[in-house]
Amino acid sequence: MAGSCDSVVKLLGPYVDDELAGADRAVIDEHLHGCKDCQGRLADLQATHAAMGAYFTAQAEAANFAGFTQRVMAQVRKEPLPMGQRFKLWWAEVMAYHSTAIYSAFGAAAVATAAAVFVMQPTPVDNHLVVHGMSVADPHFEPVVMHTDDGESVIMMVEHEDVDDDGDGIPDAKQNTQKPAAAEPPHGGNL
């Protein structure tokens, strides 16, 4: 007699359900041939199997599937989930199916942000001014270069006091009765 009853009993269920491979099935067949106890167990199992099948078949035939879809849909929650839960669900689905794309997008966004910060950062200001040459057309004026506290240069055109166009012996600028407005006269820078 092939196999012990204990090992065969465990396989009787799959045997009845026709789920055993050929070699295992041959072992059970051989054992059943010589074991009355297991033949009885098999008969009980087959009877139970047949009864269950008949019961569920009858239940299925008695079931009323008319309007099944409508009844299911009627049970579906009509109120939307709170925003937080909906976002969690959405995010879980996105991460489940598109995590690679999401990580790539975040990486690209980080690089783009870094590049944008670099590009958009204020360009350094260099107010350094070097005058290579200057030629004044009007002898009444004299250029004076000054520098502000911020390092910016001011090239101021001030009247030249020694010019006497009218030939009266008095410099023209001194005939101007208007007083200079500067609190202190500008002092020249390097030309």
Partner: protein
Amino acid sequence: MKALVLAVGLLGFAFPAGAHAEKVKLEVKVVEASTHGTASDPRLKHMEADFKHKGFAYSSYKLISDQSPTLDLKASTEIGLPNGRKVVLSPQQVEANKMIKMHVSIPGLLDSLDYSVGNNGTYFLGAGPNGHGSTTESQVFLVIKHTAQ
């Protein structure tokens, strides 16, 4: 992989290799500074503060015009001034250290002014009195900012 390609592309955009400026953007404000009145353009607060700190007694800073021409090297632009003069500005060269060489003239007042200024650098240029007063009473100023492009 796509992200890597994108990153490399962006970095290439951010650090253009061997970029050499061939244009200069000028921002030219024409300002009338005067001892008459106290009205000052809020866009000239910086200039007003600098000049007051320097000892100028101008009490009014009026913005006459504000132009931002972008010029090729050796090209020039003319800007009219309220005292009937005009200023001619011409970028000559952008040096490797981004210093910008400029040639400026105000016919009848300033035959030529050649200078170099740092990139994004600003300076003030007096352009003679506005009207018949002295320059200490009223003067047209140019506020010129230079940016290599």
